[in-house]
């Protein structure tokens, strides 16, 4: 009788511990998404972010990548960026903002039929270089452009 009660108590305690872990954020679905390059997105330096997202920070400057961004962004919270690569065999792309707290904004893996063209909008904390890095045939190519920001988009 007494023994059973112990077992039951233990069981409910264990269940309680799991529940607490979930609510404490220890077991959030984040753990499931191992594919997301956490280190790269949390890296504070461009080189570290590149190594995390593209496997290397050794990028050759190339004029075959077209980076379209405004010269002056009035609002740093919404800066339209378009990257087009004319390098054959482009398989992935990353867009970085050099002086952001965490430079890596996004990485794109292209399918076999997908053209090397990405357009999106990023946040910029202050005036900085925007860097587009493209991976083609195992090598990295990059291009950059300075965007002046009059109102920052990070922080409040």
């Amino acid at each position: 009788m007494n023994h059973n009660r112990r077992v039951l108590l233990k069981g409910s305690l264990a269940a309680g511990a799991v529940g607490a872990a979930v609510s404490a954020g220890l077991l959030t679905p984040k753990a499931v998404m191992a594919a997301w390059a956490k280190d790269a997105f949390e890296a504070k330096e461009v080189n570290a972010a590149l190594t995390g997202s593209m496997g290397s920070a050794d990028a050759t400057a190339s004029d075959k990548i077209k980076l379209k961004a405004p010269d002056i962004a009035e609002n740093g919270a919404v800066v339209p960026i378009t990257v087009t690569s004319k390098i054959d065999g482009t398989t992935s792309m990353s867009i970085l903002v050099a002086k952001n707290n965490t430079p890596l904004t996004s990485t794109y893996e292209l399918g076999p039929n997908t053209q090397a063209y990405i357009s999106t909008r990023v946040k910029m904390g202050k005036t900085s270089d925007v860097i587009a890095v493209v991976k083609a045939g195992g090598k990295l190519y990059s291009t950059k452009k300075e965007v002046k920001v009059t109102i920052g988009g990070c922080g409040g």
């Binding site: 997105f41 357009s119 909008r121």
Partner: protein, 104 residues
């Protein structure tokens, strides 16, 4: 969260241009609540996947530096009008949404 995605895909000469707008707060986790002074917890999309005809055409990983209500546009070839297209996202809190559409 069923209506967070707006999708427009058009095919012309075998090339599809996809434009998608997702409504999402994209909080960085660095901003502070002006009244209480407490940081607003991070909430941003981490993964966006687009499939067409059962094949993945684009898989993107996003950080918190993508603007609020993100917009993304891309192109892929070998597409024709009427092809199915599916776009889905997952954020850092585990929320997700997807939308099925057709290429016009």
């Amino acid at each position: 969260m069923a209506k967070s995605i707006k999708l427009r895909a058009k095919a012309k000469d075998g090339t599809a241009t996809v434009k998608a707008l997702i409504s999402h707060p994209m909080e960085t986790g660095l901003r502070k609540d002006k009244k209480s002074g407490k940081p607003i917890p991070a909430e941003f999309i981490q993964e966006v996947v687009c499939e067409s005809g059962g094949k993945t055409v684009l898989s993107a990983q996003w950080g918190s530096a993508i603007s609020k209500n993100p917009f993304i546009s891309f192109k892929f070839s070998g597409a024709k009008s009427g092809d199915s297209i599916k776009i889905s996202w997952v954020d850092n809190k585990g929320n997700s949404d997807s939308l099925d559409g057709k290429i016009k």
